[in-house]
Each structure stands twice: as structure tokens, then as C-alpha cells.
Symmetry: C2
Subunit: 199 residues, 2 copies
DNA sequence: GTCTATATAGAGATAGAC
DNA sequence: GTCTATCTCTATATAGAC
């Protein structure tokens, strides 16, 4: 509204944040690779060169987008490690994670799911959201847990992404997705508790 | 083994099926857009032109891959529509779907998840696996079900993809994934039944 | 059926004026 | 901070020889 150099030229790109916003939308809709820098700049009403002033290259745009998300997962891991290890901790932590899911985080998740190859490439460099998540799993499950148990914990935790996947191309709203995730986590952690002599 | 013109030239591309196999791997690992036709042909030990003899363009390769999968979903829909509508049908149908999941289908699912943008593009043209799946959901849930209920059914059904997502980048085997999916479906449909006055 | 050679287009990225 | 102009590279796809 009243920023320093806001003399209002065009309804277009004045800031880095606007670029990121448009890029987020396009990368999610068309995919990262299929979206050219030109696509982004045109959606903003500027030329490619303008973007290269704000970002060194195309990958830095998507990397900026992901950076915030990494931080959130780190905070979650920190919170969990500060908790006493009770049997209900998986459910509690997962529900806490779901409850704290903002529309922005959902948008990031959609971005990540729509662009798994780039995300993997970014992980190899620095980012590593999955890696941070593995840390969380490690805190929740015992050391001598087998893959089967670890996977069950991951699924109980990962219900937002699962709901997002199931909601793809349907009329489900963000609210629907989060509510479905919450219920799924409850159901999956219920199974967990009563699963002493199964198999 | 003993095909007509199998005089065995090289350990390379003699058939369409080999091209599809290599393409499946590369598209899943690096992503469809990031994989060039040249990448595929070099992995086979031939030139690009050889591939253009078998496929009209790059997209036709991925379309061929997806075509088989569409058929499987159609068969499922046919089976479901032939069943009496009992309360336990969701669970039964989902478990049947999971039980019938071959390594090939899992590979296709990984491909689809790694390349959502192309898959969407293909759907707009002809394919439409998600559309076929919506048909299945329509058969399982009542007509006057709200988004929330439909989403719950989709999630109970979609546990293989959810497990695949959760297993990403871990040591989980295909067997682990399917077993986790089976358990998740059981847990999610258990919630379904006892969910008369929730909310 | 696979090759070499090439047409064509579009991508990411930079230089330098304003 | 954004522009125009341009460089360079690599992609898809085709033509025509063998």
C-alpha cells in the first residue's frame, strides 16, 4: 500500500514477492519445466530480463519457494524432540502439524507434488524437505523399528499430502482436504495402538 | 525369445517394448520434461531417429505407457458396478484393487506421480485415468454424498498412491508399500463404518 | 529399421542502454 | 529496475541415404 518507492506504474511486478506468487501458480499448474521464464514475466507484464535482476536463474525461483517450507518442518522436528515420548505422540504431533497447515503451506505442497523431479534435484543440492521429515519419523518411531512400522508412521503423518492427492481434480476445498486429513490421521493412529499382535 | 526376426544384433532396441521400458525408467527418475528423446535413445544404444520410427513424437511414448493403466481402472469400475451395493463394498473393492497391484502397475503409479503436469495434459486430450477413477467413486458413494464423504472414500481407495508417496526416498520395498496400503485401507474403512454421528 | 544430416524453434541467460 | 537486442545451446522433429 504505502511502500517507499510505490509510485504505482502498472498492476505488475514491483517486488520479488509478486514474482514468487506468479511462479508458484504457474509451476503448480503447468509444471516447472513446462513453464518458461518468459511465461512468468509475461504474466507479470514485464520482460524476462526484469526477473533476472531479482533471481540469478530459474532454479533460484523455485528454490526460494521451497526454502520457507523447509523451515516449517524443522520447527516441527524441534517441537517433537522437546516432547516426552508417549504412545500417543505420533497422533498428537500429526494433528498438530495438520492444524497448523495454512493455505500457503497447502499451495507449497501442491507445488512439490506437481514437480517431484525438480524437488529431488533441489534436495540433492541443499534443501531436503524429505530428509527433514525423515528426522521427524526417526524421533517418533523406535530405533529398532522395521520398514513396515516406519512406513505406517509416515502414512499417519502424511495424510495432508494423501488427501491432496485424493482431492486432485475434484471440487474439494482446502477445508475439506484438511478435515479429511485429520480424520485419516485419527483412523491410522487408532490402528497403530491396537496393532500389537497383527501379523 | 523366439520372435520372427530375432537375429539378435546388439543388446539394444529391437522392439517397441524395450523403448517403453527405458522410457518408463527415465521418465520416472528424471521426469518427462527433463528426459530428452536423445536420453532414451542413447540408453538403448541407438539414435533418436530410430525412436521416431516407432513413435510419432515424444508424447506418444508416455501416452502408450499410460494407456494400459487406463484399461485396468475401467475393469475395476466394471467389476464394482456388477456388485450388489453393500456397506462393506468400499473396503472390499479397495482391497481387491490393492491385491491386484502388480509391480508394473506400481511402476506406472510412480511414473504418474513423478509427472503430474504431463499426465494432466494427456487427460485433457484423451486418457483420463482420474476421470475413470471418479467413475469408481460415483459407484461406491451415494448420489447425495457431500465432498467430505466422497473424499473419504477416495482416500480409503487411494492408499497405494498414499503409501507410495510416504515411501518415497526410503528403503521400503514394493511389498512394504502394498502391505501398508492394505492396512491403511482397513483402518480408513473401519472409521467409515463407525462414523455415523461424527461431526 | 536405423543411420547421418539438418531444419526449426524455443529455451535460459547476459550485455549494455536508459 | 526494466528495457532491447543478442548469444548460445539444446530440444523436437524431419528428409533422405543405406
Amino acid at each position: 500500500m504505502s511502500s517507499p518507492a510505490a509510485r504505482g506504474r502498472r498492476p505488475a511486478a514491483e517486488t520479488r514477492a509478486e514474482i514468487l506468487g506468479v511462479a508458484l501458480d504457474l509451476f503448480t499448474e503447468k509444471g516447472y519445466e513446462a513453464t518458461s521464464v518468459r511465461d512468468i514475466s509475461e504474466a507479470l507484464g514485464v520482460t524476462k530480463s526484469a526477473l533476472y535482476y531479482h533471481f540469478r536463474n530459474k532454479e533460484e525461483i523455485v528454490a526460494s519457494l521451497v526454502a520457507e517450507r523447509r523451515e516449517e518442518v524443522r520447527e516441527l522436528a524441534a517441537w517433537i524432540s522437546a516432547q516426552p515420548r508417549t504412545p500417543g505422540l505420533v497422533r498428537e504431533a500429526a494433528l498438530r502439524w495438520i492444524a497448523g497447515t495454512t493455505p500457503e503451506r497447502l499451495a507449497m505442497m501442491r507445488l512439490a507434488q506437481a514437480n517431484q523431479p525438480v524437488m529431488r534435484r533441489l534436495s540433492e543440492d541443499a534443501a531436503d524437505v524429505p530428509g527433514a521429515f525423515e528426522e521427524v519419523v526417526g524421533l517418533l518411531v523406535g530405533e529398532h523399528a522395521d520398514e513396515q512400522q516406519r512406513l505406517a508412521v509416515r502414512m499417519a503423518f502424511d495424510t495432508v499430502r494423501a488427501a491432496l492427492l485424493a482431492a486432485q481434480g475434484t471440487a474439494a476445498t482446502d477445508r475439506d482436504v484438511l478435515e479429511a486429513a485429520r480424520r485419516a490421521t485419527v483412523a491410522l493412529t487408532r490402528a497403530e495402538e491396537g496393532d500389537t499382535a497383527d501379523r
